[in-house]
């Protein structure tokens, strides 16, 4: 395949044509302009093509005979390669990546003004955080920006067919379950919960505070020992199907002309410029010129010339940033400031309990951090718990530790809901959090030195629900050069250097 790709005449017809070897037919002698091409050289050229075409047909026949029932073709392995040039390359085709792509196309000021490519290494999304998440959406955050992003996302999801609907396709059904989040707080946490509640009401979220007695009255199946206060989301909270949202974004973006490529980014080609600040300090400015990608299971690499790169690689965005020489300078300097995002493994357990809470079951988050929610109506629930720093599991694979449920999660759940003493684990899966070790919040905006790399990652578990808002914010930053609707400057990369953490107290 390498030989064929390097033939210059093959390149003439572009990368995307599926039956490249049959195309010389178009140039066959029935062309009306034949009179212009009567030199012996041209006719020789023609016969060369004809011979070649015939050889290709023979070769293909032979191949089919030797490999029956195999649709592998020697000549079309490059279908998933990206175009050679693009304006914006989005690294990571999760829900955030596709949302950014959609909003870029939506906000571009003329049709096909931007050529956007989304690069995703795994088209099956087997390890993607998007589809392995529990799919919740809530307004109960402590930062006003997070609350506003959730409010916008809820509005977006409610009218999803106005935004992402396609002509001639079925309406999108997100399978939204409108059941609120219920946060429980102990004596120590009650004041924080109340402050958060005030912030949420101020931003326009519909949340109610419940004292222990009210809680017991509303949800008789909860054991309220040790609970001082609870906050319950009344509107725009619940859970939905992440896969549907991802696909809706993807299909809409593709219909608007976004390219996708199933390949892996292995590096960047950058240009370097040294500059001195007013204080006489020298700073290295870098600019990404090419993104180098590799097709999986092939040594072939390909570089995409680009103007902007958006790092939406989620849990792996730290690694992508490193490829762009972010965090490789002296520690303590801006060049040496790393993107503090790393993958963390989180388990989600499915369990069955016939006597568990019924229709009124919210997504309950205990003061201990354990959570569960209803899944369907047949007495099935899913739940989990974030492990402590010390017992953080190895994120190398996605194997599930069932003992963790037995030893850590179950006692907490059974203490809160006595009916869960008789639960039975059905199955479990593990997914990755794109964990921001600095302040558990997303990074939105470009890097101060590698000026054309934008970040939209590190959301530490609430990336799915903020995807519509984050996509819009990044697109505004690119198209209008500033945030237009929501001011998210607090989430910029600079905060890691200037040490201004954006603290979010409601992290699950």
């Amino acid at each position: 395949m390498l030989v064929i790709r390097s033939c210059s005449w093959v390149k003439l017809w572009g990368n995307s044509h599926p039956v490249r070897w049959s195309l010389p037919q178009v140039w066959a002698p029935r062309s009306p302009h034949r009179g212009l091409r009567t030199s012996p050289c041209t006719s020789k050229h023609y016969s060369f093509f004809k011979e070649l075409d015939r050889e290709f047909v023979k070769f293909q026949k032979k191949l089919k005979e030797s490999l029956p029932s195999n649709d592998w073709s020697l000549l079309s392995p490059t279908a998933s390669l990206p175009p050679e040039r693009a304006d914006v390359v989005i690294v990571g085709g999760g829900v955030i990546g596709w949302s950014v792509a959609y909003w870029l196309k939506k906000l571009e000021n003329r049709r096909d003004g931007l050529r956007v490519v989304v690069i995703e290494k795994d088209p099956t999304y087997a390890h993607a955080s998007t589809v392995l998440s529990a799919g919740g959406i809530r307004q109960q955050f402590s930062r006003p920006e997070n609350i506003q992003m959730s409010l916008f996302s809820a509005q977006f999801l409610r009218n999803i067919n106005e935004h992402l609907g396609l002509v001639n396709e079925e309406a999108i059904d997100l399978q939204f379950n409108p059941s609120g989040y219920l946060f429980l707080a102990s004596e120590d946490g009650a004041s924080v919960l109340e402050e958060n509640y005030k912030a949420q009401r101020e931003q326009g979220a519909q949340v109610a505070l419940l004292a222990a007695e009210q809680l017991k009255k509303k949800f008789p199946w909860i054991c309220t020992d040790g609970v001082a206060l609870a906050s319950y989301g009344l509107e725009n909270e619940g859970w939905f199907d992440p896969w549907t949202l991802l696909n809706a974004f993807k299909r809409k973006a593709q219909s608007l002309g976004v390219y996708q490529s199933h390949s892996q980014v292995i590096g960047f080609k950058q240009s370097l410029r040294e500059m001195t600040t007013e204080d006489g300090e020298s700073v290295n400015f870098r600019r990404i010129r090419h993104v180098v990608v590799q097709v999986p299971s092939s040594p072939e690499t390909h570089s995409v010339e680009c103007a902007l790169v958006i790092n939406t690689a989620g849990a792996w965005s730290g690694r992508v940033a490193e490829m762009a020489n972010i965090g490789t300078g002296d520690p303590g300097s801006l060049e040496g400031t790393k993107l503090p995002i790393e993958p963390r493994k989180r388990y989600v357990y499915t369990f069955h309990c016939p006597d568990g809470p019924g229709l009124d079951c919210p997504l309950l988050i205990d003061s201990s951090g354990a959570y569960f929610r209803r899944e369907g109506l047949g007495g099935n629930y899913i739940g989990g718990l974030s492990p402590t720093e010390e017992e953080e599991p190895d994120p190398g694979n996605l194997d599930v530790d069932y003992d963790f449920f037995q030893q850590k999660v179950w006692p907490l759940l059974a203490r809160r809901v006595p009916a869960f003493e008789s639960l039975k684990v059905r199955s479990a899966w593990a997914g990755y959090y794109d964990y921001n070790t600095y302040d558990h919040n997303g990074v939105i905006g470009n890097h101060p030195l590698v000026h054309n790399m934008f970040f939209a990652s590190g959301f530490s578990g609430h990336g799915l629900q903020h995807a519509p808002a984050v996509g819009r914010a990044i697109a505004e930053l690119i198209v209008h050069n500033e945030f237009k609707t929501l001011d998210l400057r607090a989430f910029s990369f600079k905060r890691f250097y200037t040490e201004e953490p954006v603290l979010e107290r409601n992290i699950v």
């Binding site: 039956v19 939204f176 409108p178 019924g358 009124d360 047949g378 099935n380 199955s427």
Partner: protein, 284 residues
């Protein structure tokens, strides 16, 4: 230049057919899918006008017309697609307009009159507290404006049946703190999101009818657990609700004092084992 023996000639042909045949197939299937779409939108007369002109080579007039129709649809594929997407957007805009919040009326006359005006302009009805008869539009759709005097009288019952009510349209009635009866029969745009907003009536609502709403599912019905004072709930004829018997049992559990009409115990109880299994279970 031409191949000499027939064997190599037959070798020569396949590449072309391989290019052309899928392309032809794509053309016709694309046009056919558009034809279906155009029919649903109601733009077909404009299309058949182009195709029904007398054709000169009519061995079979039907197939000729069909051929020309397909040809037309194929030729103007992107134009028709754009027209359809505009008509969809127009519909969405119209729906938003119909569900606009009557903020001016609410400021000027208070929430009760505003809600009554909203319901009447949607061909619905209202009943004020202390009145026995419903206030409705007459057969010509005219409204008698006497209710403007009832600024201070709370609205007890609202009937918005067969209206295009959505989540957004509920803005107009959520401020009715004394609402006791709400009828939302056969509302084609009422969905689960809208149901989740009925919690605002949790202290007052006694009668609720959702009969015949095609978009309501069991996920939205779960949000009715807030309505602790509900005495009568009509959930008959909801085509999107799955495992109806189970939903009924769970609803009765969540609303102990409520009389539920419409969902039968035996509906969907035999074959819903597969439906109740969580999707996450199947996925992993």
């Amino acid at each position: 230049m031409m191949p000499e023996d027939t064997g190599s000639h037959s070798d020569y042909i396949p590449p072309v057919s391989r290019v052309i045949v899928p392309f032809m197939w794509m053309r016709s299937s694309r046009a056919a899918s558009l034809a279906v779409c155009v029919q649903t939108i109601g733009a077909l007369p404009a299309v058949t006008w182009g195709a029904s002109r007398p054709s000169s080579s009519s061995s079979s007039p039907v197939s000729a017309v069909r051929h020309r129709l397909m040809d037309f649809l194929d030729k103007y594929f992107y134009d028709i697609e754009a027209a359809i997407s505009w008509s969809v957007r127009l519909k969405q805009w119209n729906l938003r307009r119909k569900n606009a919040h009557y903020a001016y009326t609410e400021r000027r006359y208070g929430p009760y009159v505003a809600a009554a005006y909203f319901a009447l302009s949607k061909r619905g009805g209202v009943r004020f507290q202390g009145h026995t008869d419903w206030l409705r539009t007459d057969s010509k759709g005219q409204i008698s404006w006497d209710f403007l005097q009832l600024k201070e009288v709370p609205v007890e019952c609202v009937d918005l049946s067969e209206s295009s009510l959505t989540f957004r349209g509920l803005d107009n009635i959520v401020s009715l703190k004394e609402l006791r009866e709400l009828y939302l029969r056969r509302c084609p745009h009422l969905d689960d999101w809208a149901l989740s907003r009925l919690y605002v009536f949790q202290d007052s609502l006694e009668v609720l009818s959702l009969a015949g709403c095609p978009r309501i599912t069991e996920r939205g019905l779960a949000a009715l657990h807030h309505l602790k004072n509900l005495r009568h709930l009509d959930v008959s004829d909801l085509p999107s609700v799955q495992s109806k018997g189970l939903v009924r049992i769970l609803l009765e559990e969540a609303l102990p004092g409520c009389h539920i009409v419409g969902l039968d115990y035996y509906e969907g109880l035999e074959d819903d084992d597969s439906r109740v299994v969580p999707t996450a279970d199947l996925r992993h």
